[in-house]
């Protein structure tokens, strides 16, 4: 009975995630047969990034981040006078204040002390970390891939 309850909870979480995610998550599931866990019900970004989803970290995300790291390059140098973001919310706000964008990143995640934002570099939606921004916690440098 206890096992059944846990299973029901998991299914419920998956359904919630599936129901609250839009097309990009469908695309992600189709492409990778894996749906990232969503945590935006707990953390919500501000401003025009209000729709940017904060996802849970799992192995598939880590794998994509590792790929992204290979392509990572600096696009904004350190600005010591700026307030360095310590949270992913601050990072989102910092990103929105210092990057000219036409769309908000679609998803974001914190991994290994770095905030990763997928999308936002084009008008196309991207939840697979094919491109995006990265800001190291406590630093003002913005990287992109």
């Amino acid at each position: 009975m206890k096992t059944l309850i846990i299973l029901v909870v998991v299914i419920a979480i998956v359904k919630i995630g599936s129901a609250s995610a839009d097309d990009q998550n469908k695309q992600l599931a189709t492409t990778n047969n894996q749906i990232p866990a969503l945590t935006n019900h707990e953390v919500r970004l501000k401003g025009f990034m209000i729709k940017t989803k904060v996802i849970a970290l799992d192995q598939s995300v880590i794998d994509r981040i590792k790929v992204a790291n290979v392509k990572m390059k600096l696009i904004r140098s350190a600005h010591p006078q700026d307030n360095a973001p310590e949270t992913i919310v601050d990072a989102g706000e910092y990103l929105g204040q210092h990057m000219a964008m036409i769309a908000a990143p679609d998803v974001c995640v914190e991994y290994d002390g770095i905030f990763y934002f997928s999308g936002g570099t084009s008008s196309a939606q991207d939840t697979n970390f094919l491109s995006g921004f990265a800001i190291k916690k406590g630093e003002t440098i913005i990287n992109s891939w």
């Binding site: 209000i50 696009i75 990057m99 196309a124």
Partner: protein, 665 residues
């Protein structure tokens, strides 16, 4: 009565004739020779008939030499004339006493000149000669101090009767000549026009020698045995006879030879060598006739080749960075590669400053150091003529006192081995040289940055003029990179039709494969172009002031009234608000219509928007003016997608600026 006769015959005959003629005429006119009564005539008077007469010699006549002091000097074999000198003839005086018929007597005196004749005998050494007359002419065959004895034989006529044989002695000198030979030498001299020769392929070289002092020294001494005249010396130079001459050339591993004193040969490579000239000669009589060898003459020569291997710019130039971010262009900026290919990197100077270049040379032969003059004929600041191959040359004047772009600055390097008469080309360097208004202040002076900064601002001398001129290069919306001539774009779409943000900094858009960038990149690029001139400029971030404004709507948008919604954002995108093609951007005829904010460039009190190339905005109200000129409205979300609410930009008079402008470099 006696009469003197000066006889200078044989000594000064013309002078004597002149004297005698003068005396004769004088005497005639004076009447001295006119028979005078009571004065005896030379012809005895005829006796009167029946008259007795008696003739008596009162005094005897005579001839007296006065002597000769002049001693002629002749050489053996030459005729000499020796004179007796002057002599005096004294006439005899005769008196005739006639007893007339009446017993009276008449006394008549007259003079009778004695008869005389001259003989002479000459002798010098074993030579003897004789003759008559008071002038002796003969040809002595012996040298020495000789004498001529003149003897006068005179006889007085009856009634006088004395005879005499006075003598006088004159001298003459037969000079003794001797000849000595001081051996001469033949010295070879270098008559080559030049021994430092400029190399040319398969060049023909001619070097030559000449004979100097090719004479014997023969001294002829003339000695006067009588000691009256000093010895005289006459030096005669008698040319030696050249028997043969030849030359040899040694030039590295190359050698050749030939005859004569002019060596012509062909060389195929630069270097140094020596040509040696040799000569044999004989002297001539009275010197010996042995065969002598002139001291060989070795003439070192250089066949010079100069290669300019590289040339850098120094002292005040600003190094330019490559667009691809791999660092600055290396110095030396000009380098000679193989196959006569060159690298020609750009450099940058500030206007009205001098230029220093640092050429490097390969000189063959290696030890050659001149004399040589080197000059670089510059299409920019002028370079001085220098002696030797310089390692550094600073111009004698400055770049023009204005923004400039020398495309390229050429320097024709030339050298002269003859003091500047003839110049030989070495190489021509060519480098792009950008001349900025002031010293660059941008962090990295990218090639495209300085190119954009200068190519459109040539001739500018002011900050404002330069800034506007630089920006004029952006207003056409076609801005290309120097490195690959690719046009840079603004939020260009990819193959899927999706807008791409691209680079966000100057270095990024200059190096990105797609040459695409957002407004941050473009405003940074223009900022750096201004800073390339040392003009103060900043990238400005403009974000909505209102917390609810999540996007700005860039012109053009169409708003249909009345709006379907209400509140702050009454227009609904896709329903009564539509993004029109609107204002084109760099390389993009239809950039996105909405952003979270916009980045522009502030310079000299004006906003410049390089992303769209629109007119600059200036003045105290430039914030609002910029917004009204560029923005159509604001949205409640980003992107302002269908279904989201937007509002129009309030352009009413006195409306406030709705963007917050901050520096964001």
């Amino acid at each position: 009565m006696s009469k003197k006769v000066l006889n200078y015959a044989g000594k000064r005959p013309m002078l004597l004739a002149l004297i005698m003629a003068t005396l004769t005429l004088g005497l005639l006119f004076s009447g001295w020779l006119t028979p005078t009564p009571g004065r005896a005539q030379q012809v005895p008077p005829n006796p009167q008939p029946n008259v007795e007469s008696c003739t008596n010699c009162i005094s005897e006549g005579s001839v007296v030499f006065e002597g000769e002091t002049y001693v002629p000097v002749v050489c053996i074999g030459n005729s000499v004339t020796v004179d007796s000198g002057s002599f005096l003839i004294y006439s005899a005086d005769v008196r005739v006493i006639t007893t007339n018929s009446d017993g009276s007597t008449t006394t008549t005196d007259y003079a009778v000149q004695p008869n005389y004749s001259m003989t002479w005998t000459a002798s010098v050494g074993s030579f003897n000669a004789s003759g008559t007359g008071d002038s002796a002419t003969f040809t002595p065959t012996n040298g020495g101090c000789g004498t001529v004895i003149f003897t006068c034989n005179y006889t007085n006529l009856t009634p006088c009767g004395d005879i005499g044989h006075p003598t006088t002695t004159s001298g003459f000198s037969v000079a003794q000549m001797s000849t000595n030979c001081t051996s001469g030498t033949v010295v070879l001299g270098n008559s080559s026009s030049a021994t430092n020769l400029w190399y040319a392929a398969n060049m023909s070289v001619t070097l030559s020698a000449t004979n100097n002092n090719i004479s014997n020294s023969i001294v002829v001494t003339t000695h006067d045995p009588c000691g009256i005249n000093p010895d005289t010396y006459v030096t005669n130079l008698v040319a030696a006879t050249i028997i043969t001459n030849w030359w040899t050339v040694n030039y590295g591993s190359f050698s050749t030879n030939g005859s004569g004193l002019s060596a012509t040969f062909t060389l195929t490579n630069p270097g140094s060598g020596t040509v040696t000239f040799n000569e044999e000669y004989t002297q001539n009589t009275p010197c010996d006739t042995n065969v002598y060898s002139a001291t060989p003459l070795s003439i070192p020569f250089n066949v010079i080749s100069v290669t300019l291997t590289n040339m850098g710019f120094a002292n005040g130039n600003h190094q330019i960075s490559k667009d691809d971010g791999s660092g600055t262009y290396p110095s030396p900026e000009w380098q000679l590669l193989t196959n006569n290919m060159t690298t020609n990197y750009p450099t940058c100077y500030t206007r009205n400053t001098s230029m220093t270049v640092t050429p490097n040379w390969i000189i063959i032969p290696g030890g050659f150091s001149g004399p040589v003059l080197v000059k670089g004929i510059s299409s920019g600041p002028q370079l001085p003529v220098v002696s030797g191959f310089p390692g550094s040359v600073t111009s004698t004047d400055n770049f023009k006192n204005k923004v400039d772009f020398l495309n390229p600055l050429t320097i024709d390097w030339q050298a002269s081995l003859d003091g500047g008469t003839n110049w030989h080309d070495i190489a021509t360097t060519a480098n792009q040289v950008y001349v900025t208004l002031n010293d660059p202040t941008c962090a990295t002076l990218y090639h495209t940055v300085v190119w954009l900064a200068c190519v459109n601002a040539v001739g500018q001398t002011t900050v404002g003029g330069t800034a506007d001129a630089v920006f004029s290069g952006f207003t056409g919306l076609v801005v290309k990179r120097v490195s690959d001539n690719i046009q840079m774009t603004y939020w260009m779409t990819n193959s899927m039709g999706d807008y791409q943000m691209g680079a966000t900094e100057t270095g990024g858009i200059l190096s990105a494969a797609d040459a695409n960038g957002n407004c941050q990149a473009w405003s940074a690029l223009l900022r750096d172009c201004f800073r390339a001139h040392g003009i103060s400029a900043d990238r400005i971030k403009a974000l909505p002031v209102a917390a609810s404004d999540q996007s700005i709507l860039v012109k053009d948008w169409q708003f249909n009234n009345p709006p379907s919604g209400s509140g702050t954002y009454p227009y609904n995108v896709g329903t009564d608000a539509f993004d029109l093609p609107g204002v084109p951007g760099q390389g993009n005829s239809n950039p996105p219509g909405g952003f979270n904010g916009h980045w522009i460039t502030l310079c000299n009190g004006s906003y410049y928007d390089p992303s769209y190339g629109t007119s600059k905005v200036s003045g105290a109200n430039k914030d609002k003016d910029y917004e009204d000129g560029s923005l159509a409205g604001y949205g409640e979300s980003l992107p302002p997608s269908n279904g989201t609410g937007v509002r129009k930009n309030d352009t009413s008079a006195g409306s406030a600026s709705e963007l917050h402008y901050t520096t964001d470099n």
